[in-house]
């Protein structure tokens, strides 16, 4: 299946997934799927539980090996790199389901660790505490502080994550991904656990990230997905069953069937999909 794009791929760096297959024993998690996401584009990846959304992210990040197929970003093969720590060098950052913060590091440190790839001080200067390393430290802390300020959580910079509300932890995780200044951001269920107001703020924030970066958004909250995405890819049982604008996906009967079953899809396609499928 060829993946349509709302932006020309010449306009920015492109993630391209082609004929990707991933199996776990006898279970096929992703079955020869193809899709793309270009810098400046917000692409939603939706589907029922077990459809393969997070597996797709895990293959992109090198956590899971693909059986076959190709994933490239800006022309570089992600399957050949296959080390998670190479991702940031390619300009890809990811948030995790839940929050995935380091419990023993402060909020500020949690954000600072996200920019380690951009550090210019070497091992020797860090070990010896030379001025170059100290300057890097200050620069890093300053950048992290600015991001926390932008996301409205700077008051919690010295707190440890476990002591903070979930929404603050979520913003911290987002700040940690953004400090790396990625050109592609993978957001894995960023709205889970957020209130409606917080979700509105998140939507505004995600929209604001484009056109600096491409965003691949895995999310169950359809209101958010429909509001922010330029394009939506729908997975079901490891296969792409729809790829298009929010409007076209919303009116796609196969998508409604995947979410709610044959018996009720007719009524759903006329009234819109469930908010929290």
């Amino acid at each position: 299946m060829s993946a349509p794009s709302t932006l020309s791929e010449r306009d920015g760096r492109t993630l391209r997934v082609d004929e990707l297959r991933v199996g776990f024993g006898g279970v096929v998690a992703l079955d020869r799927i193809s899709m793309s996401a270009t810098q400046g584009e917000i692409v939603g990846v939706i589907g029922p539980n077990g459809a393969g959304k997070t597996t797709l992210f895990n293959v992109i990040c090198g956590f899971v090996r693909a059986d076959s197929g190709v994933i490239t970003y800006d022309g570089s093969s992600l399957l050949e790199h296959h080390h998670a720590h190479d991702l940031t060098e390619l300009g890809i950052a990811r948030t995790l389901q839940g929050v995935g913060l380091f419990a023993g590091l402060s909020v500020l440190e949690n954000v600072m660790i996200g920019a380690q790839n951009g550090l210019r001080s070497d091992f020797g200067s860090a070990m010896l505490g030379l001025w170059r390393s100290s300057r890097e430290e200050r620069r890093l802390a300053s950048r992290a502080g600015e991001l926390l300020e932008e996301l409205g959580v700077s008051a919690y910079a010295r707190h440890f994550p476990a002591t903070l509300p979930y929404s603050i932890q979520k913003r911290t995780a987002l700040a940690r991904a953004l400090i790396a200044q990625p050109s592609l951001l993978l957001l894995d269920e960023p709205a889970s656990g957020l209130s409606n107001d917080e979700m509105d703020e998140l939507g505004t924030l995600i929209r604001g990230l484009s056109p600096r970066m491409g965003v691949l958004l895995v999310e169950h909250h359809m209101d958010l997905v429909m509001a922010v995405c330029d394009r939506i890819v729908v997975l079901n049982f490891g296969q792409v069953i729809a790829d298009g604008t929010p409007e076209s996906v919303q009116s796609n009967p196969e998508v409604a069937t995947a979410y709610l079953g044959d018996e009720v899809h007719d009524s759903v396609t006329t009234s819109g999909m469930s908010e929290n499928a």
Binding site: L96, G98, F102, S133
Partner: protein
């Protein structure tokens, strides 16, 4: 009263040495969840290398420095050659490998240098200092022990708390996979952790050797004391290693001073049991990990 003071001072010096070896155990455990039972034997081996260098006319401080570097390299080599290939396998495998390494190193030292005890010079005089008109059981060498271990501890804390390298090491210890996702080269940091532990182990060997029967097995009992110290401190905290080392050093010194030196190993084991029963997570255990 003078017995109490002298026993306390003796416990303080010994406790600092236990703290150095406990720090080595902590550096490895917090990063890889492995108790390196060969840490003492690695310190023993590097101390024998120091002895060889001194025997060939190398100056004390050059030999001292060379052995710390050799400890660094030995620690890194053990991680890369013996431990890294076991990643993802049973947790028991690296434990058995470190026990095997302990046996191999002690056998190797016995083969090369012989099993009998020998002397090892101290950096400074070991005769007690005189305070007023009273000679106390605390020598210039004990002062050196205190300073050397405090420098080691301070350096470790500065590295962890005030540098981006330390931040990466702490993050890797908390969650390796997430750290990798953020661009941290976790494998290099694991090697570095083992290498720094090698330095701490070598230092403890150099500090113990002048005051004990220096031979292939002279670090065995020190490892038991250091392990006790590390457990008391929480197995993951450098500060915990220091406090645990002092508690262990003072406790066994009191046991030795008032009940007899033969009971010191038993005293350490009783202390370990009490610590495990009263506070199994240790005094300075880090916050529990969160599911991600």
């Amino acid at each position: 009263m003078s017995l109490f003071v002298n026993v306390t001072l003796n416990g303080l010096a010994n406790g600092m040495i236990f703290a150095a070896l406990a720090l080595a155990l902590v550096l490895i455990f917090r990063a890889t969840r492995i108790v390196n039972f060969a840490q003492g034997a690695m310190g023993m081996m590097t101390t024998f290398i120091a002895s060889s260098l001194l025997g060939r006319g190398v100056g004390y401080w050059w030999a001292f420095l060379a052995v710390l570097v050799i400890g660094f390299v030995l620690g890194a080599l053990v991680e890369r050659v013996l431990i890294r290939p076991l990643q993802g396998k049973s947790e028991l495998n690296p434990v058995i490998v470190t026990i095997g390494l302990l046996v191999v190193l002690e056998g190797l030292a016995g083969t090369i240098y012989g099993n009998s005890s020998r002397g090892f010079p101290a950096a400074y005089s070991q005769s007690g200092l005189t305070v007023g008109h009273t000679k106390i059981a605390f020598s210039h060498f004990d002062v050196f022990i205190l300073v050397a271990v405090l420098v080691l501890m301070t350096g470790t804390l500065v590295l962890f708390r005030a540098t981006s390298l330390g931040l990466r090491m702490r993050a890797s210890a908390f969650a390796g996979e997430i750290s990798r996702l953020l661009g941290v080269r976790v494998g290099v940091l694991l090697t570095l952790g083992w290498a720094l532990a090698g330095v701490a182990g070598s230092l403890s060997g150099l500090l113990v050797a002048p005051t004990s029967s220096f031979g292939p097995y002279f670090m065995d009992l020190v490892l038991v004391y250091a392990f006790t110290a590390a457990v008391i401190g929480g197995l993951e905290s450098p500060v915990g290693a220091l406090i645990g080392g002092l508690i262990t050093g003072l406790s066994i010194s009191y046991v030795g001073g008032y009940l007899g030196s033969g009971l010191q190993p038993l005293g350490a084991l009783v202390l370990l049991m009490v610590a495990l029963m009263a506070r199994p997570e240790g005094i300075f255990a880090r916050p529990p990990a969160r599911r991600v």
